[in-house]
Amino acid sequence: MVRRLALRLAGALATAWLIASTCFLLSRALGAGAPQLLNDEQTGAFDHYTAAETQFRQRLGLQQPLFYFRLLPWRWHGTPNQYHSWLTEALHGRLGASFRDGAAVETSLRTALRVTLPLTGSALLLTAGLALPLALGMARRPQWYRRFVPVAYLLDSLPLFVVGMLLLTLLASPDFWPLFPAYGLGTEGAEGIFWGNWLNTAYYLALPVAALVLVSVPALALPLTEALRAQQRQAYVATARAKGASARRVAWHHLLPNALPVFITRLSDLVPGVVAGSVVIEVVFALPGMGRLLAEAAAARDLPVLIGGVLLIALSRLLAWLVADTINALIDPRLA
């Protein structure tokens, strides 16, 4: 078991490295991926435009060859190359410096995660906490099922920004009920989110979390409901009921353990989203999280930040799958 786990962990790490390397090489090999010093608004000084761009590329180390060799046709470049320096740095736990302000990528990611994790993490926990009882209720009461399923499909089909904007317009606008803050975190002079100030944070995150939860509850509750309903038809449930077990007991002790793997798998699919953040919600509610960091990095061609983010998300996805499989194997040895 431990050996298998270690092997799979190594596999996950190797896959993450492969994904990040591919992104690294592709983003830098393509002309449109190159960062520019002067955008279309800036005209620059006459006769100094080219020089400025060259100096800029030199400072970022972009004049170096990209990889150990090039293909089509073959040419050997050797070690001083962009990929080599990135890899050596990455092996030491450093992901390079942002092209925009020279800050270490780890620092940017950490700052963004401090905002994103409370937001998406609490949304995930709430989603799981809501989906579980909802699915149990729906499995036990057909009339709940009939009423909730259309609502779930409706919520599932709503784009996230529509939900966000609706919540914002209804609960944060002076025209309706301005109960919640419209934007930001309300942390005056504090870096990221302070746990000591959690009540204030909860207040500021209420609307964004609500939007995320509303949209993702169906994705979790519907498959679980189906799995529970399927379990209900199995013979052992009738046996348990015949033995005099209460409906509640049957639900919690017999149905749920059997349907749990579905739930855990779906949950593990949502975990990378926790790390990746949600661009839409972060833009609508002006939160400086991972989603916006990566979207802005992509727009500004800040490749080190982008690649760092992709690496982090890929790792979290692969590890989440690993953890989910392990838990499932513990719950139900047949799945091992």
Partner: protein, 339 residues
């Protein structure tokens, strides 16, 4: 387990009618073609007007009639989201079925052919691009020739591992970041959007189909078929896929939802189709420009919800005819198996 109410006929009729209406609207939009229908002309004297007798669903921030825009938008719904969802479902189903059926050892390839192909690929990459077609041609010919050689040694093709790795690969880069990156390479157009949507949406279907097939494969009747000497293709096509179909059909609306959601979000972030290509996502995204124009959101959402509801209803009732929940259940349970 209570029986479901016996009124699905009416609902199903309604659902079919709605979808049929959409198809008609799309045909109308197609037929008018690039010549813009008068109703979707820009009218700068009518910016963002609430619903009235003249404009039943009001006008958008460009002065176009929202109802006409939504009807014209069905064309892109049918031309982009639906094909993308179909492609994603088909791609996912076939890749997953292949991975589930053959696993890591089931499919074996000739060693000689592999060597030849590898050699030609390396050769193509090392020499200049002008020689590329020749290398590929040589590789194809060589591989065919190797098939007839008496060298019978084979290698197993780790199909399962390859499909799962490809799925992990696409799923690991967040969809939106991927779309942003791709938008930087190529200006968004319909084929581009279709490829992005289909290319990022297939992994869940593949996982579903893989576990379904892997499980069905061990059923006695499949074993019997194999013992009777049926070919792999025949077993896959005639026996496995029909049994997996209800579950796969149920995943089509889900894929459509995902494709549509992504298309809408791209419009929201400003990297969707050009503004003269009308689609529902754009109408919803325009609501952001004019937050007080509730009719944009209401109109867009009404069309969206009705369509999604109709699709879910039809796929759900269909799956109930066959082997309904047992398949779905096992599917979902087996999804957990392994990645």
């Amino acid at each position: 387990m209570a029986a479901l109410p016996s009124r699905p006929l009416l609902l199903r009729g309604l659902a079919w009618a709605w979808l049929g209406g959409l198809v008609l609207a799309a045909l109308w939009a197609w037929q008018t073609g690039s010549a813009q229908p008068a109703a979707t002309q820009l009218d700068l004297s009518q910016l963002s007007l609430p619903p009235s007798a003249r404009h039943w669903l009001g006008t958008d921030p460009f002065g176009r009639d929202v109802l006409a825009v939504l009807l014209a938008g069905t064309r892109n719904l049918l031309a982009v989201s639906l094909p993308a969802a179909l492609v994603a479902t088909a791609l996912g189903a076939s890749l997953g079925a292949a991975a589930g059926y053959w696993g890591n050892r089931g499919l074996r390839v000739r060693r000689a052919a592999v060597v030849v192909i590898m050699f030609s690929v390396v050769g193509a990459l090392v020499t200049g691009p002008q020689l590329l077609p020749r290398w590929l041609l040589a590789g194809a010919l060589g591989a065919t020739a190797a098939h007839y050689l008496p060298l019978r040694a084979t290698w197993p093709l780790p199909l399962d591992r390859l499909v799962l790795a490809a799925g992990a690969f696409t799923a690991s880069v967040p969809r939106l970041v991927l779309a942003l990156l791709l938008a930087a390479l190529h200006a968004p157009s319909k084929p581009w959007l279709l490829a992005v949507l289909a290319g990022t949406c297939w992994p869940p279907t593949a996982r579903l189909s893989r576990t379904l097939v892997a499980q069905l494969r061990r059923q006695p009747y499949i074993e019997a078929g194999r013992a009777a000497g049926f070919s792999d293709w025949r077993i896959l096509w005639r026996h496995l896929l029909p049994n997996a179909k209800p579950a796969l059909r149920a995943s089509l609306p889900l894929n459509l939802t995902v494709c549509f959601g992504l298309q809408t979000t791209l419009s929201f972030l400003g990297i969707g189709l050009p503004p003269d290509e009308l689609d529902w996502g754009r109408t919803l995204a325009d609501a952001r420009l004019e937050p007080s124009a509730w009719w944009l959101t209401v109109g867009g959402l009404f069309f969206l919800t009705c369509t999604m509801a109709a699709l879910h209803l039809l796929s759900a009732t269909d799956s109930r005819n066959g082997t309904p929940h047992s398949t779905l259940k096992t599917a979902d349970q087996r999804v957990t198996n392994k990645d």
